[in-house]
């Protein structure tokens, strides 16, 4: 460790303000704070003493994502070998998944950090760690077979329009990772939806009875056909206890989908970790879940098609609901800031997510759109919560 510190100490004069290589200062600063706890201390005022800074927060979220990430990696391999009818071991699944996922992660980080570094260099800011989490979230919400340059373009768009336009990390209105996905979804719909992109089928003959669709895609085909219509029977059989999308499979994550979104169990595990560490807001997660449950429950009561008739809990285990709840809606910057606001924000995000998903089969990923929509509404919610607070106190003062 001493040796690493020596390197940083020796190169520092070079990159400081009047050093020869001061253009590299942001990079030096970023690497140094990544390796060591910064020794800056505040000089004035009262400060909360806590070891947690932006970097630690971000790393905590990354730890929380690891289970879902590893599962996603394994699931890529499992689905791939399953689709081409080969037996595979645990290790083979992992290896195949890693081969697919690592390029995605690398490209995302390269593209996103490239834009970030460019802007901090232009604006003379130190590079901050805002992209650490987004860079890992983006690959997890992409289909496995999306071309890498599309991921790069979406990432650049997200960092540019989602974040830098508003002034960088901490100032963004929208969740950057979801902005990237929304961009990819509208820009390259062929590679973001349908039944061709979720399972890699290269290098083998596809087995009989193979379907590359996701649960959401299959459910969307039932919209417009009445309840109990024989045409939807085969689709709905897959949601039965023995089917591909059974409640158990959906909970464990043994279904096709975006890379990291499938396993509700491991996502919840990550969510618990976030709540336990105080990084993720349990208020948002809870109200998000309740919001989704209420909407799914309402649909269930008025079920006119199989999508609506799906058991509410089952409904919530499918698609990106869980992932959105734990990792997307809880983004501390784009979510509501007030405690009451968080309940409203989370509830409406879950509520609208299920609503969009069921009402508009063209947008199976309603969760993404709902969270982005609520991101935009969050400042409004906060405003009214604060106003209400002021009014209540004024009233109390008048009565006293």
């Amino acid at each position: 460790m001493k040796f690493v510190q020596n390197i940083f100490d020796q190169t520092r004069p070079l990159v400081e303000k009047d050093g020869k290589r001061n253009i590299l200062y942001p990079l030096h600063n970023a690497l140094e704070t990544m390796a060591f706890v910064p020794d800056h201390t505040a000089h004035s005022g009262a400060h909360v003493r806590d070891a947690i800074d932006l970097k630690r927060t971000m790393v905590t979220v990354i730890f929380a994502m690891v289970p879902a990430l590893l599962f996603g990696m394994w699931n890529i391999g499992r689905l791939h070998y399953g689709a081409i009818g080969l037996e595979s071991t645990l290790i083979e699944n992992f290896l195949f998944g890693a081969l697919k996922l690592l390029p995605l992660i690398t490209v995302t980080y390269a593209a996103g950090l490239g834009v970030e570094i460019f802007f901090s260099w232009k604006r003379n800011h130190p590079v901050n760690e805002g992209f650490l989490v987004s860079g890992l979230l983006i690959p997890l919400i992409m289909p496995v077979d999306i071309p890498l340059w599309m991921v790069a373009v979406s990432t650049i768009f997200a960092v540019l329009i989602g974040k830098e336009v508003f002034g960088g990390t901490g100032m963004n209105l929208l969740n950057p990772a979801l902005t990237a996905r929304a961009f990819a979804f509208f820009a390259y719909p062929t590679w973001m939806s349908g039944d061709q992109v979720w399972i890699n089928t290269s290098g083998g003959d596809i087995v009989d009875g193979y379907s590359g669709a996701t649960a959401m895609g299959d459910l969307a085909t039932t919209v417009g056909q009445g309840l109990g219509n024989p045409a939807t029977e085969t689709v709905m059989a897959q949601f039965g206890p023995e089917g591909t999308y059974s409640l158990m499979n959906a909970f464990l994550g043994l279904i096709p989908g975006s890379i990291g979104e499938t396993s509700a169990l491991l996502i919840l595990l990550g969510g618990l970790f976030l709540v336990f560490k105080g990084v993720g807001s349990w208020r948002i997660m809870l109200s998000f879940f309740v919001g989704g449950l209420v909407m799914a429950g309402i649909f269930n009561v008025f079920a006119v098609n199989e999508f609506m008739a799906l058991n509410p809990i089952h409904q919530l285990m499918l698609g990106g609901f869980m992932f959105g709840m734990v990792f997307m809606a809880t983004d501390p910057v784009s979510a509501a800031q007030t405690e009451t606001g968080k309940y409203i924000y989370g509830f409406l995000a879950g509520f609208f997510g299920i609503m969009i998903r069921v009402f508009n089969p063209a947008y199976p990923e309603g969760i993404m759109l709902a969270i982005l929509f609520m991101n935009v509404m969050a400042p409004l919610i906060d405003h009214y919560v604060v106003e209400a607070n002021i009014k209540r106190r004024e009233k109390r003062l008048a009565n006293a």
């Binding site: 373009v153 961009f183 390259y188």
Partner: protein
């Protein structure tokens, strides 16, 4: 009788030149005044309608400015908006009929947006702000200047949207067919550029770029 002889201003004096050049950058109707956004979003999917739209607006704005300026002393102040509307509406009908006769395809693509030139905020804005208080020649220059400022942005937005959204320019395929994934290449058109929100984002990026260059435009707050 007054012996004062008013200095006659030359047709292209400095002041008059500014009427033409100001709306191009410092006082651009779209990027600075943020007027006429609706049409900038609606008809910029392809380059051709955008060009036709710019020309139509140029005709309506220049001719309308001149007409309003000529009759500015006759218009009763209370009903001036109605008079202005009549003038724009007549001019727009002329344009519409002309397009239907000579450029039917484009007219089809522009559909209601030719008619909606009537409500284009730039036109009423120029009538109110300029033509009512200035002579016909100045009003003409102002009309031309503003419609160029409008057209340039419109065409720039349409250029990017058609190039990235459909891989074509003016209807001609620019990106080679062999690049597309369907033909074994790597490229795919960006469908997002076909949606109006992308026009808003492109306009936003243009505003961003313009303000980065032209620091006068940055408001103090």
């Amino acid at each position: 009788m007054s012996t004062e002889v008013k200095q006659k201003e030359s047709l292209f004096s400095k002041k008059n030149q500014r009427l033409l050049s100001d709306p191009f950058n410092d006082n651009n109707p779209i990027t600075v005044q943020v007027l006429g956004i609706c049409s900038a979003l609606a008809i910029t999917v392809k380059l051709e309608p955008a060009i036709v739209m710019s020309l139509s607006v140029m005709f309506v704005l220049a001719a309308g400015n001149v007409i309003i300026s000529l009759i500015r002393n006759l218009i009763p102040n209370r009903i001036r908006i109605i008079v202005q509307l009549v003038v724009v509406a007549s001019l727009v009908i002329l344009v519409d009929q002309f397009l239907k006769a000579f450029a039917y395809d484009v007219s089809k693509q522009l559909s209601v947006f030719v008619g909606l030139i009537i409500t284009n905020c730039i036109i009423m804005g120029r009538f109110e702000a300029f033509a009512l208080g200035n002579g016909p020649w100045k009003a003409f220059l102002d009309g031309i200047g503003n419609s160029i400022g409008y057209g340039v942005i419109l065409i720039a937005v349409a250029f990017f949207r058609e190039l990235l959204g459909s891989g074509a320019l003016l209807g001609f395929q620019v990106i080679p067919d062999s690049w597309y994934i369907a033909n074994g290449g790597f490229y795919a058109n960006n469908g997002f550029f076909l949606f109006p929100p992308m026009a808003l984002i492109v306009v936003g990026l243009i505003i961003w770029g313009q303000r980065a260059k032209n620091t006068k435009l940055i408001e103090e707050n």
